[in-house]
């Protein structure tokens, strides 16, 4: 059986269009409070480029290709690991005054006025 992937012309455009739309919609609902973690989170996601780097490095047949492939994997790995580390650090800090209460269901730190007593 053949499981190799071939993406030609219009299929690629369809993928790009749908993925772009998905990204737009997903981010559209993020409250301003999360903009910085989100920027770094999406920065982490494009770290997937490391997989592409692995592909070219493993297929390298000259020293030049090995060197550039090595460079690609190293940078991509940095993008992944660093992006994850900072995003996780930032997000771990968010907590409510009730700590375990879930009154900010829609992600907006709206007035709950619980503390106004």
């Amino acid at each position: 059986m053949d499981f190799s992937i071939h993406i030609a012309g219009f299929i690629a455009l369809y993928i790009f269009m749908l993925a772009g739309f998905a990204g737009w919609v997903i981010i559209g609902h993020v409250p301003a409070i999360l903009h910085t973690p989100l920027m770094s989170g999406s920065n982490f996601v494009h770290g997937i480029v490391v997989v592409g780097g692995m592909f070219v490095l493993l297929n390298a047949s000259t020293v030049q290709e090995q060197a550039i492939g090595f460079f690609a994997v190293m940078l991509g790995a940095g993008n992944c690991a660093g992006g994850y580390a900072v995003t996780h650090r930032m997000l771990a800090m968010f907590q409510t005054s009730g700590h375990k209460t879930h009154h900010a269901k829609h992600g907006r730190a709206k007035a709950s006025h619980l503390k106004a007593t």
């Binding site: 499981f3 772009g20 990204g23 737009w24 997903i26 981010i27 409250p31 301003a32 409070i33 999360l34 903009h35 910085t36 989100l38 999406s42 920065n43 982490f44 996601v45 494009h46 770290g47 997937i48 480029v49 490391v50 997989v51 592409g52 692995m54 490095l57 493993l58 297929n59 290709e65 090995q66 550039i68 492939g69 090595f70 460079f71 690609a72 994997v73 940078l75 991509g76 790995a77 940095g78 993008n79 690991a81 660093g82 992006g83 994850y84 580390a85 900072v86 996780h88 930032m90 997000l91 800090m93 907590q95 005054s97 009154h103 900010a104 269901k105 992600g107 907006r108 730190a109 503390k115």
Partner: protein, 484 residues
């Protein structure tokens, strides 16, 4: 089934899973409650995809077979070196330096995309015009993102202090970009087998990458430091796009999807940031903001009225409601913890305290939220501009700490001001305003702030941490007296 097809099957399934987990993870990041699990979900996707990428060994090109063991070793080594250095740096970096750090990681992603394209070009592996065009486009965007992000880092880190501008630089930049595109066009022509050559092909590829990298530098240098967050966001989207394009060249849908999701998300985020600053993205990229302004501020009435920190602290203790407007100065003084300590005292005394965050407070949208969260401030005390701006009118005290331009009423009233039209926090409408400031200097935009001269405003000069310590002691002293 052969090993090759088993490997292809596993890679196909894991990449599909990874693409799903990325989108699901980003979706979960849209709420503070689920956000930490969101990054974890995306992280699992990444880990699985990276591990599965080793299965490419069963499916390598014939020419690469003799080098396979070396290549695998190099891959493991590169993953460990790049990953661990970045991980260590990410754990260690101060929260205030977060924007620069994101810029670096983003540049690395762009560089990786550029490097992939370089291998494809040197190896002449890209068949057909479409593939070549896409490879070069990804290479161009990735390289610009790499060098541009490094400049952004240098500016935020303070290595590069002033925006560098030359007369007519915009035209020069456009010409340079056109020149780079011309090189790319010629490269496509040459790589398709044309024999007439000005330069040998490899040298031509070097020239192309050199031009792209230089363009990234030229494009970023004239932009002021205050606009860097938006620029980083643009480069974040650009890297996503570059990754997506290289994903197409490598026939890897996971890269295509992840890259394009980030490209679109980053674009939207950029527009949101620009909107918060009431400027267009083109205006940010091509106008000289943050430079010496020719505009003379209209005559400001009143005077600066300094007051003692202790008095201000006690006044707030007996107020009914206080809104705190924190800015980057607070973070620069590392005074978030002290601020929250003071706020807790006020809350315990029955004062209603809220934090009002301007969309561009800090050096990056949402950075102030993160800095307050780091100090332990619950996010239900934190309010965004639109949610709280009406409340200043009915609030007893607005406490402005380390913020300046985001509370400058000139944005509402003065047509000629560089920040005119920018939405601001209406701190000036509170009954009493206290401004904690290091000295009499101007804000990042270099504009005089009329708020400070208002009749209802008093200045508390000093380092934010020291001022807050005095306030805390003053309020505690009251409690002790009452108890005695």
């Amino acid at each position: 089934m052969t090993m090759t097809s088993i490997a292809q099957l596993i890679i196909g399934v894991t990449d599909l899973g990874a693409a799903f987990l990325f989108m699901y993870g980003l979706k979960r990041m849209s709420s503070p409650v689920t956000a930490p699990s969101g990054i974890f979900v995306a992280g699992v996707g990444m880990l699985v995809a990276v591990l599965a990428s080793f299965l490419y060994v069963f499916d390598v090109a014939t020419a690469a077979k003799p080098h396979l063991m070396v290549n695998v070793g190099l891959g493991v080594f590169a993953l460990i070196v790049g990953g661990s250095i970045a991980w260590w740096a990410g754990k260690k970096v101060a929260m205030t330096a977060m924007p620069q750090m994101v810029a670096i990681y983003n540049g690395m992603g762009g560089g990786a995309a550029g490097a992939i394209a370089a291998v494809e070009l040197f190896g002449d592996k890209a068949p057909g015009t479409t593939q070549l065009v896409v490879t070069l486009l990804g290479a161009l965007i990735g390289s610009i993102s790499l060098s541009g992000s490094l400049i952004a880092w240098a500016k935020l880190e303070g290595v590069l202090k002033k925006p560098l501008r030359i007369r007519g630089q915009q035209y020069f930049n456009i010409l340079f970009l056109l020149g780079t595109l011309a090189v790319a066009g010629y490269l496509i022509y040459v790589l398709q087998g044309a024999s007439s050559q000005l330069l040998p092909t490899p040298q031509l590829i070097y020239v192309f990458f050199g031009c792209a990298l230089i363009y990234g530098i030229l494009m970023t240098l004239p932009i002021g430091g205050a606009d860097m967050p938006v620029v980083i966001s643009i480069y974040n989207a650009a890297t996503g796009l570059a990754v997506g394009l290289e994903g197409f060249v490598l026939a890897n849908p996971a890269l295509m999807i992840a890259g394009m999701v980030v490209g679109a998300a980053g674009t939207l985020l950029t527009l949101l940031m620009a909107k918060a600053m009431n400027r267009s993205v083109a205006n940010i990229l091509f106008t000289n903001f943050g430079g010496p302004s020719k505009h003379k501020p209209s005559h400001i009435k009143g005077s600066l009225k300094p007051t003692e920190a202790a008095d201000a602290g006690i006044f707030m203790r007996y107020a009914k409601s206080v809104i705190v407007v924190p800015g980057y100065g607070l973070a620069a003084a590392q005074a978030q913890q002290k601020l929250y300590e003071f706020v807790k005292l006020l809350l315990a005394a029955g004062v209603s305290v809220k934090f009002a965050i301007h969309p561009v407070a800090g050096r990056m949208p949402g950075q102030m939220d993160v800095l307050l969260a780091e100090a332990g401030v619950p996010y239900d005390l934190i309010f965004q501009l639109d949610d709280i701006n009406e409340e200043f009118k009915t609030t007893d005290v607005a406490l402005v700490i380390g913020a300046n331009d985001v509370v400058n009423p000139a944005a509402r009233t003065e047509k000629g001001s560089p920040i005119f039209g920018m939405p601001i926090l209406n701190a000036d409408q509170a009954k009493q305003v206290y401004v904690v400031k290091r000295g009499q200097g101007k804000g990042y935009a270099g504009i005089v702030n009329a708020l400070f001269y208002g009749d209802n405003c008093n200045m508390v000069y000093g380092d934010a941490a020291a001022v807050l310590t005095t306030m805390i002691e003053a309020v505690r002293g009251l409690g002790a007296k009452a108890a005695a």
